[in-house]
């Protein structure tokens, strides 16, 4: 029987998040009040009935590991299967493998031992709430070697620039993978591949001293592989820069978008934290905002996203901003278009204003 395993490959993802990735990998950047980017691919995999998920972890992974724990929050604390964290082994000086191929090589046993016949590979920067069951059925039905999940972009934004464009024939067979910016059909970074083929291609790439599995293993062999495309039509976002991160957070303040992302499918799962409900005090005035548990609000908040445990004192004003976990905003502070990373304290009377295009970002644990 055909069966899917999941792989989250973070190796070749954009890390251009400046302050937000000083001490964490981009996959664990907090998003939408209580999530991390990685919650989306993880939840999507689990919702696709995948019960073994592996993760290539490279550097700055302390926060990622803390977040994932045993995988229990995603029901991935299993006796069989579950969550597998796959690092690289740096102890062999003769090892010449590069890029994500190094992870595949060092963790070959994981793939060999799994009873799964197919692998669903995803990054962490394609944000959607979906499942890939239909795509997998389609993959089997078409008897494809590889199925690429694509989506059509309606409005071209800077974050779409680095994405591959897919050209397919009427039957969905992929003819070309290009950088053609005029083509609105983009590759989401999510694909399904037959496991045996994956391992053969990995060995081939390593033999030729390559460094990128998707580019060297799949794109370079496009003509000899049966590659399908499967279009995803739901709401989604690509987050690969501070600007796209800020824009897509703010986008969720439109109720329709918020409901589309979180309420039309299964809930996106994240680490449970057990904070008390939000407490609104006497002088609280909050409109068009998203607030997570543990917040204590006595100030003015407008069009903003507050993560868990944020405290906003009286007289403080927060507009168009993202305030991460456990920040404290003292009395009479004014914040507009800012992103505060976790544990930031803004002292009494401070005024910080960024622009809507370039939000002002304060790194973790600063006192301003």
């Amino acid at each position: 029987m055909s069966r899917l395993m999941g792989l989250i490959n973070l190796e070749h993802e954009s890390q251009h998040f400046h302050e937000l990735t000083y001490s964490r990998s981009s996959a664990s950047i907090p998003f939408a009040g209580r999530y991390r980017l990685i919650d989306f691919p993880l939840s999507n995999m689990v919702n696709s009935n995948i019960d073994e998920v592996a993760l290539f972890i490279h550097n700055k992974f302390r926060s990622l590991l803390d977040h994932l724990g045993t995988g229990a929050s995603w029901d991935l604390d299993r006796t069989h299967g579950g969550l597998f964290l796959l690092p690289i082994d740096g102890s062999n000086p003769m090892d010449m493998t590069k890029g994500d191929l190094r992870f595949f090589r060092h963790n070959q046993d994981y793939f060999l031992r799994s009873p799964s016949t197919h692998v669903l590979i995803s990054g962490s920067q394609f944000i959607a709430n979906t499942n890939y069951r239909k795509a997998f059925e389609y993959h089997l039905e078409r008897d494809a070697d590889v199925t690429l999940i694509t989506t059509r972009i309606n409005r071209f934004l800077p974050e779409h620039r680095p994405l591959f464009r897919i050209e397919a024939d009427d039957l969905g067979w992929v003819q070309q993978i290009t950088n053609d910016q005029a083509n609105p059909v983009v590759f989401t970074g999510v694909y399904i591949i037959n496991k045996d083929l994956l391992l053969a291609l990995v060995n081939d790439c390593i033999a030729y001293n390559r460094d990128n599995f998707f580019i060297n293993g799949i794109m370079d062999h496009l003509s000899s592989l049966k590659v399908q495309s499967y279009q995803f039509d739901g709401p989604c976002a690509f987050i690969n820069s501070i600007e796209s991160y800020y824009r897509h957070n703010m986008n969720l303040l439109t109720e329709k978008h918020y409901r589309e992302l979180f309420y039309e499918q299964d809930f996106v799962k994240t680490k449970i934290s057990n904070n008390p409900p939000v407490k609104f005090k006497e002088r609280a005035a909050v409109t068009n905002s998203i607030l997570s548990t543990g917040c204590i609000i006595d100030g003015n908040i407008e069009k903003s996203i507050l993560f868990r445990g944020v405290e906003v004192k009286k007289g403080a004003v927060i507009k168009n901003s993202i305030i991460m976990q456990r920040c404290t905003i003292e009395e009479d502070v004014y914040l507009e278009n800012v992103i505060l990373d976790k544990d930031v304290q803004i002292t009494k009377g401070q005024k910080l204003i960024g622009s809507t295009q370039k939000p002002f970002v304060i790194a973790k644990r600063q006192v301003v």
């Binding site: 109720e255 409900p277 407490k279 006497e282 002088r283 998203i290």
Partner: protein, 386 residues
């Protein structure tokens, strides 16, 4: 503390005086404070006090309670050793029966306690809102070399007749216990929290079980019998917030207390957290014309109207141009548009249609609203009920 002390948590109560709130669920499982259930306070006290073995005695409509407690994970009590064990009544080879009283419930589970061979047993119940470090109670118990220690709280003397009152010597040794006395001699009320030396308690439970005339209750039978025998019994003085949420009005008041600054620590304390089974709802969404003050609200909710002095659970909706005042809205309830609610408790998943107005006078008990009440009231009043 390991297994030096095993806690036995009485959670079988029907809670009749809570009316519709306990139609289908046991009193300890009644939702409280926007996120919790009443029993969470006692379970969190155990977790925070380092008690790692807890038997939860359930009986009345236990499903919700059992599901809530699960394997004890939210309280870090999903342990290989000890942890939480749910103890409903059971039958064995020689029969069995429902728990007929608080003492009988423990008596029927003597074998459960025995397997841990504890020195002390802490008997608590799951229907009070308070934060208490049982470790300190146990410390005093050891220091005074007591056989029984009963936690007491000072209540207003004019209300003392509603409680079990303990009369003590200057060093807190108990010489008299009066259950709901007409003319109380002092105001030290028993909180129903006891520490017993297990070997002593076990004998009394067995003796009490044999006694046909006994009601098998700690307050009415076991404690008086121990006093009669001159057992070494002490009172432990507790000060702090403590509320029996046994009636609709006290339930409502205790929820409203959470909104007061002075009681911030009841659920917001960083050093004494209250744990509960958490869910995966997305954060709270406030619309453009939302107004919410002096209130608490939880995840998964959408608020477009005005909320004041109210407690909102998760996955609640408050429609635009609606006012929710001094009310408690349980999970999944949907309040339509242009609704006015004051001093009401809306039960789980109840839908309040657009335009409904329901207000209860300050001197009356808050009104509990469920689907049936919505149908009745709205049929009778055409949506205008005051």
């Amino acid at each position: 503390m390991g297994n030096e002390c095993v806690a036995m948590l009485l959670a079988g109560g029907e809670g009749k005086r809570l009316g519709a709130l306990t139609t289908n669920i046991a009193k300890p499982a009644v939702p409280f404070g926007g996120k919790y259930r009443i029993i969470d306070f006692t379970l969190s006290n155990c977790a925070n006090s380092g008690i790692r073995t807890v038997g939860v005695l359930t009986q009345y409509s236990p499903h919700e309670l059992h599901r809530h407690i699960g394997n004890g994970k939210p309280w870090d009590m999903n342990r290989e050793k000890g942890g939480i064990t749910i103890l409903p009544p059971f039958t064995a080879k020689h029969g069995g029966e429902w728990y007929t009283g608080t003492a009988d419930a423990i008596y029927q589970n003597i074998h459960f306690v025995n397997q841990y061979n504890p020195k002390y047993v802490l008997v608590i119940s799951g229907d009070h809102i308070y934060q208490m470090n049982y470790e300190k109670l146990l410390e005093q118990h050891k220091q005074t070399n007591a056989e029984v220690t009963i936690s007491v709280i000072e209540v207003p003397i004019e209300e003392a007749h509603r409680f079990g009152i303990l009369n003590t010597t200057d060093n807190m040794q108990i010489y008299e216990f009066e259950e709901k006395p007409k003319n109380p001699k002092n105001n030290l009320a028993s909180m129903g929290i006891y520490v017993f030396n297990w070997d002593v308690l076990k004998n009394y439970l067995i003796k009490d079980a044999m006694k046909k005339t006994s009601s098998h209750d700690f307050g009415k039978d076991v404690i008086p019998a121990m006093l009669m025998d001159g057992r070494r019994m002490f009172a432990y003085r507790f000060s702090g917030y403590w509320k029996d949420v046994g009636t609709v009005s006290s339930y409502w008041e205790a929820n409203m207390d959470l909104l007061e600054d002075e009681y911030d620590d009841l659920v917001n304390s960083k050093t004494w957290r209250i744990y509960t089974k958490d869910s995966n709802y997305p954060p709270l969404f406030l619309g453009e014309r939302a107004k919410i003050i002096n209130s608490i609200a939880n995840s998964g909710s959408f608020i477009y109207g005005t909320v004041e002095k109210s407690v909102l659970f998760e996955n609640v909706e408050v429609g635009s141009d609606s006012d929710v005042v001094q009310s408690i809205i349980h999970s999944g309830a949907k309040i339509g548009r242009n609704v006015y609610l004051q001093r009401v408790i809306v039960m789980e998943n109840t839908i309040i249609p657009d335009g409904v107005r329901l207000a209860v006078a300050p001197n009356e008990d808050p009104l509990i609203i469920n689907e049936e009440i919505v149908k009745e009231r709205i049929a009778v009043t055409g949506g205008n009920s005051v």
